[in-house]
């Protein structure tokens, strides 16, 4: 009798432990689903915000291009002048498979701008979605100080050299329109470069959104 009671108590305890484990698993699953939904909504919001940003940058670019066409003439800025001889792209992309938390593997896009292919190692700048890697010479942003000036370090010299290469590549890109071009055309070039950087961010946001969407609809 005592043995039967003991067995019953043991069985009841086992059942309650199983129920507790099941509940814990259910809570964890719901937590993961909520995480996926939040990730999806964040990506969707980011996607729409970036699309708005690229829209305004493109408008600036089109406006500057139209202004340049107005000052230089229609015949000097049109698609018939485009270089159809063999040449590689100066700005290229890298695609890698990245593990992102609960989303699993997601493609990640990165941009390398103005990578010189003319012999030697590429001297362009890598652009990722980090705000630190914006184009621009760091030296030009330093304050001038009177007195003893510091010798440029090797890193600064490399940065200067890279900036010079980028200037050359930019000028080469505009050279199809002639030796002297309107400042508006240079402005258009910068606008489209910025739009390109934003498009890379959009591609990453799109990948993240689709990945979260697939996770949500898997259930």
């Amino acid at each position: 009798m005592a043995g039967d009671e003991g067995a019953e108590i043991y069985e009841e305890r086992e059942e309650s432990m199983d129920a507790a484990v099941d509940k814990e698993t259910e809570i964890k699953t719901e937590g993961k689903e909520d995480e996926n939904v939040l990730q999806f909504l964040d990506s969707l919001d980011g996607y729409l915000t970036l699309m708005d940003s690229v829209n305004s940058k493109l408008r600036e670019g089109w406006f500057d291009l139209a202004s340049a066409r107005h000052s230089m003439g229609t015949l000097r800025i049109n698609s018939t002048l485009l270089d159809l001889k063999y040449h590689p792209a100066a700005s290229t992309f890298q695609v890698t498979d990245q593990e992102v938390g609960s989303l699993g593997s997601v493609p990640r896009f990165a941009l390398s701008k103005w990578v010189s292919k003319g012999g030697g190692s590429p001297k362009g700048k890598d652009f990722s979605t980090d705000t630190d890697s914006e184009i621009g010479s760091p030296l030009s942003q330093q304050l001038r100080h009177r007195g003893v000036s510091e010798k440029p370090s090797a890193k600064d010299e490399n940065t200067l050299a890279a900036d010079e290469e980028i200037k050359k590549e930019r000028a080469k890109s505009l050279s199809v329109f002639g030796g002297l071009v309107s400042p508006k055309l240079r402005g258009a070039q910068l606008s489209f470069e910025t739009a390109l950087e934003t498009l890379v961010e959009i591609a990453n946001m799109r990948a993240s959104m689709l990945s979260a969407f697939e996770r949500i609809t898997e259930k």
Partner: protein
């Protein structure tokens, strides 16, 4: 993700563009233009004389190439080949729809947003 083949890493990949003249010229100034040894370009300029067939062929060719990471389409051009764009479901190359000078961006027609909008529809809510 379970069951999905890993995405092969691509270095020095290109962006392909199917858009109007000004958009193409602008992005070419940004340094993304590529012409290979066979004089094939990574862009198609669409004007009044370009046929839908040419756009479809260009899209199919770009989406099949291994050296392309992103395909950029003006949204009004994507609308001409909407069936083809919406039925494309590979992660790479990524298809991005952008506005053009004369046709503003419409989120309702974006293929990515169309795919996910069913999450917000009344039917999907009632099924849960």
């Amino acid at each position: 993700m379970a069951g999905r083949a890993p995405i092969p890493a691509r270095n020095s990949a290109l962006i392909a563009m199917i858009a109007d003249e000004d958009t193409i010229v602008g992005f070419l100034m940004a340094g993304v233009g590529n012409v290979d040894i066979r004089r094939k370009t990574n862009y198609l300029i669409v004007d009044s004389k370009t046929t839908v067939r040419q756009i479809e062929d260009a899209f199919k060719e770009f989406s099949a190439r291994d050296d392309i990471a992103i395909i950029l389409l003006s949204q009004y051009i994507a609308n001409m080949i909407r069936f083809l764009v919406d039925s494309y479901n590979k992660p790479v190359p990524a298809i991005l729809e952008i506005p053009s000078k004369d046709h503003p961006y419409d989120p309702a027609h974006d293929s990515v947003l169309s795919r996910v909008k069913y999450l917000f529809s009344a039917e999907s809510v009632s099924q849960r």
